[in-house]
Amino acid sequence: MILDEEVFALIVAVTVVASVISAALTLRDFMGYGEPFISLGLLDRDCKIGYYPSRLPIGANHTLCVFIYNGMRKPVLYEVKLKIVTNASAMPTDSTPSPVDEIARWRGALPHAGNATFKVNFTIPEKHSRLAGSKVILVFELWLYDTKSMGWFYSGRWTSLHVTLEG
């Protein structure tokens, strides 16, 4: 026999598997894949990991860096809120934000698969001078704008830094 049947069957089988995988990958690229997510990270004043401040004077200017990655499969309008939390019961969770009022906020927009690293400058307000000498938690919460409900919603992403306030 010129073309062996078993060899021919093997060639056709390999071709079927390769074509199905290629077709699936092509469809996946068109339809988008993976669960949508967004991530938030806190970096130091030089936008690197490490050397976070442990003591913050009240009333002075401070600088940190925030990193955001958008994997939501659509452009997002985001808002990062900074809050000062003094007890564990007021900490945010993955579903509820902290009930404390924000002391600063920063807004921006990101395309899908885009990321932003930007410096955030803030001052601990004088009204917190009663907390001088005590340990507090700086909480950064990530909020997103929902165009269906036309309002901001808490994304469930947050990060924190434990510091001691100085008077």
Partner: protein, 137 residues
């Protein structure tokens, strides 16, 4: 005198309201542009550059740079409007291209099953075209 004061207050309130409505940095305006960008993204139109310009405009709004924000948002708005009219066509083209690719890929095994033996045999015969049979003595 009292009526005059009430009228002046009303005029002030109305002018504030119209100023807010025209505020380019208002949440309503930003939300409208975001919604259009989401629509473009949904239709697979490459609007990443526009989103980055929108980001610059939003930061300008936050920084109090009203004139820069207005300029950027007007530019983004105009580009978005022009892309909106093309969005459906772009999506239809991309969908047609994807469907064509998938169908072509799925047809490959069928074509291999039908044509591989023919091509192989054709090549096999051509390679032996000048052979001749010699009778065994």
């Amino acid at each position: 005198m009292r009526k005059l004061a009430v009228l002046a207050l009303l005029a002030l309130l109305l002018s504030c309201r119209s100023a807010l409505a025209n505020d380019v940095c208002s949440e309503e305006n930003l939300a409208r542009i975001l919604k259009e960008l989401e629509y473009l993204s949904d239709k697979r139109v490459d609007a990443d550059g526009l989103v980055r310009e929108f980001d610059v405009a939003v930061r300008a709004c936050e920084g109090g740079e009203r004139s820069k924000a207005e300029e950027m948002l007007t530019k983004v708005s105009a580009k978005v409007t022009s892309l909106l009219s093309e969005a459906e066509r772009v999506f239809a083209l991309k969908l047609a291209k994807t469907v064509t690719e998938v169908v072509s890929l799925l047809l490959v095994p069928v074509l291999v099953y039908i044509y591989l033996p023919r091509v192989y045999l054709s090549l096999w015969y051509r390679s032996r075209k000048y052979w001749y049979v010699v009778k065994k003595r």
